[in-house]
C-alpha cells in the first residue's frame, strides 16, 4: 500500500472554505434574499443615521464639515469591528450553546482556528454590503464629499487587508476566552466592541476623551486602522484632526502592522491556552442554557 501524499495546507483551507459556506448559510438562509438584503442594510444604516441626525441637529445641517466625514466614515467602517471580531467569538457560542455542534467540530478532522476564521468571513461579506451601501447613501444623499478619483486606493486596500487580519486576531482572542467562560459569553463580543467604539476614536477624536482614558485609544490598533481608512478615502479632511496629525501614513501603517503582529501573537497564545484548558476541563461540550 502506498502512503498517501497529503498537502499540509489542505486541512486549513478545507476547514476555512467549508466554514465560510456554512457561515453564509447560517447568516442568510433564514429568509428570502430580498428580506435578507433589507435586514442587512436597515440596521447598520439606521445606526449611522442616528449620528447623522445628532450631528445635523447641532450643526444645523453643516454636512460639508470635515467633522461629519470623520464621524460618518469612522462609524461606517466600525461595522467591521463588530461583525468580524465579535463574529468569531459568536461562532463559538452559537456552535456550543445553540446548535450544540462544537463537540463534533473538535472530534472532526478540521483546524478549529481556520474554521472560526471562515465563520467570520460570512459576516465580513454581509458587512461589506452594508458598508458600501452606507457610503453610497452618505455620498449621494448626505453630501459626504468623497472624491472617488482622489482616493488613495493602494493605501485603502492595504489598510483594509491589515485591518481585517487585525480584527480576526482580536476575534480569535475573544473566541478563545469564549471557550472557557460559561456565563456572560453573550456579552463578551458586544462588550469589547462597545468599549473599542468609545476608545478608538471611531466617532469622535480621542482629544474629547478625558486625558487618563486616551492611552487606551493609542494602544488600540483599531484607532490607527480607522485613521488610515479615513486618510485613504478623504485625504486632507481626515488629517485635519489633531489626534494622529503628527504622523505620516507610513508611520501609521507601521504602527498598525506592529500592533497587528502583537495581537496575532497574543491571539495565538491565548487561543492555544484557552483551548487546552477547555479540553482539560471538559468545557468544549458544556452547554450552559444561558
Amino acid at each position: 500500500m502506498q502512503p498517501s501524499t497529503t498537502n499540509p495546507i489542505s486541512p486549513f483551507w478545507r476547514s476555512f472554505r467549508v466554514s465560510t459556506w456554512l457561515g453564509w448559510q447560517i447568516e442568510s438562509n433564514w429568509t428570502d434574499p430580498l428580506l435578507f438584503a433589507i435586514y442587512s442594510l436597515v440596521r447598520p444604516i439606521t445606526g449611522i443615521l442616528i449620528l447623522v441626525i445628532m450631528y445635523g441637529v447641532i450643526t444645523k445641517g453643516n454636512y460639508a464639515s470635515p467633522t461629519f466625514a470623520y464621524i460618518y466614515l469612522g462609524s461606517t467602517f466600525y461595522m467591521y469591528v463588530g461583525s468580524i471580531m465579535a463574529g468569531l467569538s459568536w461562532a463559538v457560542i452559537d456552535d456550543r450553546e445553540h446548535y450544540k455542534t462544537l463537540k463534533y467540530m473538535y472530534i472532526a478532522p478540521i483546524h478549529i482556528p481556520s474554521y472560526l476564521a471562515g465563520r467570520g468571513v460570512a459576516r465580513f461579506l454581509v458587512t461589506t454590503i452594508s458598508v458600501v451601501a452606507t457610503i453610497l447613501v452618505g455620498q449621494f444623499i448626505l453630501n459626504l464629499n468623497i472624491d472617488f478619483s482622489a482616493i488613495d486606493w493602494p493605501l485603502f486596500i492595504l489598510s483594509m487587508l491589515i485591518g481585517i487580519l487585525m480584527l480576526a486576531m482580536m476575534g480569535m482572542i475573544l473566541a478563545g476566552i469564549s471557550l472557557l467562560i460559561v456565563q456572560h459569553v453573550w456579552f463578551l463580543g458586544d462588550g469589547v466592541a462597545s468599549a473599542l467604539y468609545l476608545f478608538s476614536g471611531a466617532i469622535f477624536p480621542l482629544e474629547v476623551l478625558p486625558a487618563w482614558l486616551r492611552p487606551l485609544g493609542y494602544f488600540m490598533p483599531v484607532t490607527y486602522w480607522l485613521e488610515l481608512v479615513r486618510r485613504a478615502l478623504v485625504g486632507s479632511v481626515a488629517q485635519a484632526f489633531p489626534t494622529l496629525s503628527g504622523l505620516s501614513n507610513l508611520q501609521i501603517l507601521g504602527i498598525l502592522c506592529a500592533l497587528t503582529v502583537v495581537f496575532a501573537v497574543i491571539a495565538w497564545l491565548v487561543f492555544r491556552r484557552c483551548e487546552h484548558l477547555a479540553r482539560e476541563q471538559g468545557k468544549i461540550d458544556m452547554v450552559t442554557n444561558y
Binding site: 433564514w30 429568509t31 445628532m54 467633522t67 456572560h184 456579552f187 468599549a195 467604539y197 469622535f204 442554557n289
Partner: protein, 288 residues
C-alpha cells in the same frame, strides 16, 4: 413497621385548588418571581446590563461634546440610554420570550398548566419591569454623575404619570408581540435584532424626536417610548419644552390610548395563538 401511604390516601387528601382571580394573581407572582429573584442570584448580570448601555451613552455624549452641543443634549442621551434598558427588556425578554420558551420546551407546559397565559405574560412583564427599573436607575445615576447632568423637574406628578403610562403601554406592546413573534418562529430572533437601531432612530433615544419629519415622528409615536421619552424630557430639562414634539397632556392622552390598545391586542393575539396551538398541534414544536 413503617407507615405506608397508598395512592388512594394521596388522592383523597384535600388539595386547595385556586381558581379565578386568585389563580391569576398567583400565576403572575409565580412568573414574576424568577425574573426578580434570578437577578439577585446572578448579580454580575446587573454589571453587564448597566455597563454595556453606559458605554453606548458615553460614546454619544462624547459625540455631542465633540460637536459642541448644549449641555441639555447630554441629559437627553442619558435619559435615552436609561430607557434603552426597557426597550431591550421588552424586545428580548417579552416579545421573544414565548419563542425562547418554545425552544427550551417550556411553552407546552405553560399552555397545559391551569394558570392563564395572560397571567404568565403579565408576570413576565412585571418581573422584567422591576428588574429593568433597577438597571435603568443605575444607568441614569451613573450617567448623571459622570457627565454632571442638570435636571429641572417641572412637575413630579406629571413625570410619574408619564413614566407609569409609558411602562404600561410598552409592556402591553411586549405582551402583544410575544404571541406575534411566536408565530414568526425562526425569524423572531432576527426581527428582535432588527428592532434595535431602527427603533433607537425613530424613537429619538439620543436626540429630540422633534428633529425628525413630523409624519415620521407621528408614526414613531406608535411606539410608547417615543412619546414617553419626549414627555419626560420636556418635564425634566429646562430646554425640554422648546424641543418637545407635542404637549405633555396630549402625549399622556395618547399613552393612555396606546395602553388600552396594546393590552386588548395582547389578549386577542394570545387567544388566537392558543387556538392555533390546539388546532394545529405544532405551535409548541421545536423544529430545530
Amino acid at each position: 413497621m413503617s407507615a405506608q401511604i397508598g395512592i388512594t390516601d394521596i388522592v383523597s387528601q384535600h388539595v386547595d385548588k385556586v381558581s379565578g382571580w386568585k389563580l391569576f394573581v398567583q400565576t403572575v407572582i409565580a412568573r414574576a418571581y424568577p425574573r426578580v429573584i434570578g437577578q439577585q442570584r446572578e448579580k454580575s448580570w446587573m454589571f453587564f446590563d448597566v455597563v454595556l448601555p453606559l458605554l453606548g451613552v458615553c460614546s454619544y455624549v462624547f459625540v455631542y461634546r465633540a460637536i459642541g452641543a448644549p449641555e441639555d443634549y447630554i441629559g437627553f442621551v442619558v435619559v435615552g440610554g436609561a430607557m434603552i434598558a426597557f426597550w431591550m427588556n421588552v424586545l428580548w425578554s417579552m416579545s421573544s420570550q414565548l419563542y425562547w420558551e418554545k425552544e427550551q420546551g417550556n411553552l407546552a407546559l405553560f399552555i397545559l398548566a391551569p394558570g392563564p397565559m395572560m397571567a404568565i405574560l403579565l408576570g413576565m412583564a412585571l418581573g422584567g419591569l422591576v428588574a429593568t427599573t433597577l438597571r435603568a436607575l443605575a444607568i441614569m445615576v451613573l450617567g448623571t454623575w459622570f457627565f454632571n447632568v442638570q435636571y429641572s423637574v417641572a412637575s413630579f406628578p406629571h413625570l410619574f404619570a408619564v413614566f407609569f403610562l409609558t411602562m404600561v403601554a410598552l409592556y402591553g406592546m411586549g405582551m402583544m408581540l410575544a404571541s406575534l413573534f411566536l408565530l414568526l418562529s425562526r425569524e423572531a430572533w432576527h426581527l428582535s435584532n432588527l428592532a434595535t437601531e431602527p427603533v433607537f432612530l425613530v424613537s429619538g433615544f439620543y436626540f429630540p424626536i422633534k428633529s425628525l419629519n413630523f409624519w415620521v415622528a407621528a408614526a414613531a409615536s406608535l411606539l410608547p417610548l417615543t412619546l414617553g421619552m419626549d414627555a419626560m424630557r420636556q418635564l425634566v430639562f429646562a430646554s425640554g419644552p422648546s424641543l418637545g414634539f407635542i404637549s405633555v397632556p396630549l402625549e399622556i392622552i395618547i399613552l393612555v390610548g396606546l395602553s388600552v390598545v396594546f393590552l386588548v391586542g395582547a389578549r386577542a393575539l394570545l387567544s388566537h395563538m392558543e387556538k392555533l396551538a390546539i388546532r394545529e398541534g405544532r405551535l409548541t414544536e421545536n423544529r430545530r
